[in-house]
Symmetry: C5
Subunit: 283 residues, 5 copies
């Protein structure tokens, strides 16, 4: 056991940088009722929702995913500038003509997040080198300035285009706070080292998988949401299985429910409503 | 392991002061049925409920929140003088014309509570200094008198106006009673120290977040409810993440489900029913 | 770790005395459908059920409680002589005209129980003093005779009138059988001491709270049900919070979901159906 | 910690003998719809199902139980020769005219099982005494022969008549595989001793309770199902409470949900549909 | 505790080979609505779905299972070449005329998987013998080549015909990541030895049970899905009970819910809809 957080020198909490506000919404489709409609009525329902989400997205976007299994048929991933814009996306869906044919099954609220273990450690060292003492206003101010500069440098990762890959995997997770294994009372340097090892594995899959990590502490039931995008779904299995053996996951990860599906183009929503597998058109 | 509670000198149970009785009620809206109504019918449903809650609130109030995600569309937070008044609020909602369009999803019953670790410790010392022995009638009487005086001093925090900030986060929590880490068998002074450290972090966010803690032991499934109010929702994530590393949270906190949303003015309920994001007007 | 139960001298299992058979039944009311009825139709639904429960209760009774929150609007607590009579109460509700407007949410089956730790220990000593050996027929016979006499002495606590207090709190609980903290392998004398300490706290609240403990091993999902009755609901919070620090609770109690509400007179059921807070008339 | 199973001498897995295939099916009744029928229509629904189950039961049987509480109103316990016959029983219920008035709540699939700890240990000794080595074909053959002979001797316990007692208690259970307390890595002799102690307590209640243990590994969510039958339901509470202190239960038992109710005669199903407590006629 | 994964020599993650993509879909049947149809209408619903699944299966197949109990009446197991083909199978079911009579209860998404503990260990040794160092491109390339050759050798086990046996048992499982017992931080050689012991038990049942293991990390809520096929369902109980005592299961296995049922021929779906037990015709 380590001592109380306040007795440990150096940083405790890693800085984070925030990007898109995200809302995941999953629905089952009411198939018999959809089937009773004419093809043109289904087309109209699909294009009505697709258009209103496109028009209201601003510089954000909504991804469309056909889910496999009973957890839902349709997953919408809304990326927006703030929670007001998420609220609008949610209300566009709710007040669309299609909503009568949708049965909500799950959702997730989060904000795209870059965790900055290494940068936090390095900055603490640099600022100490400049004679600044952690906890003082001067330190906090200098630290915030550096983080803002960093946010500008990595802006494209915080407000990224949603990856155009066929397969999507979503799951939420926590860091364990067990009675014996407790991430939040592990020393900062240990946590940083574990995150570094974790990142090494991720980088081995760099060309095959694109990931989006979002933070959901205070917003939803788990601490983080993970979205993975890949051309070949078997890569999800390989990557997560391999990671399960690293210390950050083996000892400290707790996982929620997984959802997997096929991303498709907004224009193909009508194809799904018709009962045919929708395609992902080249962007 | 500490010995049985009764063998430890000094206080064991911190005194608490009670304020508003609270009832949180979350609902999904039946959107297709609402959509089938005329705009003026929706306006009438909205103003009917808003007015009846206002008229019956006494010196209490009801906050209106649009929730994000599938847990609900509308959260009502009723603050009232007692459980009879909460019962009336609940029945006003249930017997409103709008209720037909509401699907209850979750609720929470609690009483606004100020935990008094430091004050309890100090009072024990003072009364002992006056020669009073804990457990005696004289001690209990003097203690109760001091707490009543304190309740008068902090009355505005017990019966506060609900904060007029755009974003609201609600979650319930417990203190862990694990087989190895057990809050309720930790010594009073350790608990008081942990709560002090926890409070220090909270105070760093003083201008950015307003919190309301309510006690729900005996009323609902968790020990406490927490409501946070902020202009910027990212602050919820920062604050709770930072606190997760303090000992009170890292070792002893257990969290229920989180709900997050946008507070709006009572007069804007009709806007929500129309499918548009409702605004929070300056009070 | 203690040895196996059969190697320990003295009593292992405390004797218990049984009283009323209890059935708790919680329901949501179908408000829009009730609202569509005429006031006199609601009155008739209410009086029909109230009368049939009264007529069939024998020397038992049914308490009526308006619940707060989404777990239910109405809680019925049936106290009857045996399970056949509980079955009749359940069928009276199910076949009433009101049942169409009730949606069952939870229930609990149990038997009022007095746990006899101290009496069991004392009796073991006395019978040993008389030369009787535990486990022999003579011992068992003498023990059973003493318990029957005791049951006659405390009959009014086993078959009590349901307390006429405004607020009611119900929750089920278990004694923990953890891998490290296990109530059922703790020595009898330790358990007896912990129950004694637990009882002392209860007695401090004697004038303010009336409790009914019922056993549900073999009947429902938890080992015991607890009903508390008080004029001031804040007392539930104080009492249970204070008890949470005693060893029996801190180390060994596990709690199910809590329900809280306002008790009202049978004749006031129609008031509730009308959407107004029903009163508890003096008995 | 014991070594891996394969390093321990002597038996590891106790032999079991199998009897009836069991399907428990619980339903809520749709009371308002039943009430809207004429008495003779209810009689016809009841006798239709009762007759088809009787005709198709072969030498098996179906027990009828009125449940207490919201988990269901009617529990059917089908005992049949094999899973094909269970499938037929399930389809007889599903395609009966009554099914429209039934709402499935829970079910359980299992096979009546006698665990043979002592017999297994004894046989291992005997066969070793005959010079047979465990794991050899000769050993396995001789062992199987002895078990088949034993199955013939206890056939009436494997294919028993369902006990004609008024009260029925059903619950599923597991043996714990905790990180510290793990039934499946305890030595065979310890497990055998614990099961012997457990059996001693059961035998004290021999005249008052009849039990049926069924195995459900591979069939349902728990490892075993337990049905208890008694004239006085308080005996369920006494028996299971007393057992909870023996080592097999205190350290290793994990329990699912409990259901309790009143057994009644097949011919009384119509009485239940009429909303009156059905009787158990002498067989 | 072992050190971090990256400090251990030799392999950490066992290689796996992938086969069919699998989608399990369970449904309750809406019996009263089916019963209201004419026999020929039911026949037509059945043959419509059966035919569309057959036509679209490619070289894959769909197994039909009648489930026992309330978790569902019908389980479909779709084996397809990839997730696009699974999506098509799901949409064929959803847009069939029968779907109106189906109520989804659970599902499972996975990919048939052969775990290669021994092969992985052997290959590491061989490649080291050839002077290749783990982690280098040359090593990874040689390893991947050997695995591809192995995949060709065991192709018929990866893309197998679904076993034509009457009884089917399905359950998902995890390897435990407990605070004390953690599969993912156990040394590779220990895990390999435990899997070998586990396999030995399986092989004792070789003639009686056919198993299909599928991996679902990244696809569904558990790490693996297990399908067992047998003529005699009691064999499921014996096999899984015996395995529960091996170390891989006793210490490290965590099980989800079990489903059990009777496999039947595609042409017999109409028999099930008629309320009669469908047969499994010889292939």
């Amino acid at each position: 056991m380590t001592g109380p957080a306040s007795d440990r020198p150096g940083p405790i909490v890693p800085a984070t940088l925030d990007g898109w506000s995200l809302l995941h919404q999953a629905f089952r489709l009411r198939w018999p009722a959809l089937r009773a409609l004419s093809p043109s009525a289904r087309t109209s329902l699909a294009s009505g929702l697709a258009r209103s989400l496109e028009l209201s997205a601003g510089d954000g976007a909504t991804a469309f995913v056909q889910l496999l299994g009973h957890k839902g048929d349709l997953l919408l991933i809304h990326a927006r500038r703030d929670f007001d814009a998420l609220s609008q996306a949610q209300l566009h869906v709710a007040s669309s003509s299609l909503f009568e044919y949708l049965e909500p099954t799950f959702s997730y609220v989060s904000i795209v997040e870059l965790g900055m273990y290494d940068m936090t450690g390095k900055l603490y060292g640099e600022l100490a080198g400049r004679g600044l003492e952690a906890g003082t206003d001067a330190f906090e101010h200098a630290f915030a300035e550096e983080m803002a500069a960093q946010a500008r440098r990595v802006g494209s990762r915080l407000f990224l285009d949603l990856p155009q890959r066929r397969h999507v995997c979503f799951y939420p997770m926590d860091k364990r706070r067990g009675e014996a294994k407790n991430w939040y009372s592990a020393p900062f340097d240990d946590r940083a080292a574990m995150m570094r090892e974790h990142g090494h594995i991720g980088r081995k899959y760099a060309g095959k998988v694109t990931q989006i990590i979002s933070g959901s502490i205070g917003f939803d039931d788990w601490e983080w949401g993970v979205d993975l995008f890949a051309d070949d779904p078997a890569v999800f299995k390989q990557l997560i299985y391999e990671m399960r053996f690293d210390r950050a996951s083996a000892d400290y990860a707790e996982f929620g429910d997984f959802a997997v599906g096929l991303q498709f183009s907004r224009a193909e929503l009508g194809t799904l409503l018709d009962g045919r597998t929708p395609a992902l058109q080249p962007a």
